[in-house]
Assembly symmetry: C2
Homo-oligomer: 139 residues x 2
């Protein structure tokens, strides 16, 4: 198991020991918002993660039970990754990152859609989270 | 200026381009919850950040206007760092990280205090955020 060294007794530091990385939360984004489940799909995301980085991050996430991995029933050569409750509980964190970015980033043609989404979050966050979770259940 | 390469047009990726790191959010934690303002105080935090890492992270944060830096009026040889609105707007993200960690980490003797804090957040998040902001104004 990849060793995670706990740097202090602080809960923010604890979270960052796992999540403080440019790539980890993109895997969750892909799983939560894009419903991606396969290595090749994560690899195909726009940010261009390297194969070895993706492999090591998925391994850590499985080992620490953020996600599970199993052979796909229909595509025997492929592994399917699924979120656990621990992984799904990162949804509010991702939404806050999105809200923050919507204030400070420039997203071109996607700006209006992003601002509408953030507006729906500000109006009823728990409903949006319930919808995301329901959408994941269909997977 | 340290170059930040935008990896995609995704708001989550945008945020991680700045914040996806084991150290950056600890600086915000120190400033927001501990009211730290000086290099030596950040350096003294329990996680033991290295001097060169702290220097580079503070430089990036100033360049990208998450924080400002000025000579301290009373301690002429020292620089004082302050949060901008852009930096303060990370408070909800840090709170979500804390909430997530409270569910999955073991914080020993600090567990009860953490769970009480999370409970107050769940009951009235905006009030807690207002209190944090008011507390920062006193600095």
């Amino acid at each position: 198991m990849r060793s995670i060294i706990k740097r202090s007794n602080c809960p923010i530091s604890y979270g960052l020991d796992f999540l403080g990385d440019k790539w980890i939360l993109l895997i969750f984004r892909d799983m939560i918002f894009e419903k991606k489940s396969y290595f090749k799909d994560f690899l195909g995301s726009a940010e261009g993660v390297a194969t070895n980085i993706l492999t090591s991050r998925l391994k850590m996430l499985v080992e620490h039970e953020f996600i599970t991995v199993e052979q796909d029933m229909n595509r025997k050569t492929m592994k399917k990754y699924r979120l656990t409750k621990k992984g799904k509980d990162l949804i509010p964190l991702l939404l806050e990152l999105m809200i923050w970015s919507s204030k400070y980033g420039d997203f071109g043609l996607e700006t209006v859609a992003l601002l509408n989404y953030v507006e729906s979050l500000n109006q009823n966050r728990s409903k949006v989270i319930q919808q995301i979770l329901a959408n994941l259940e269909d997977n």
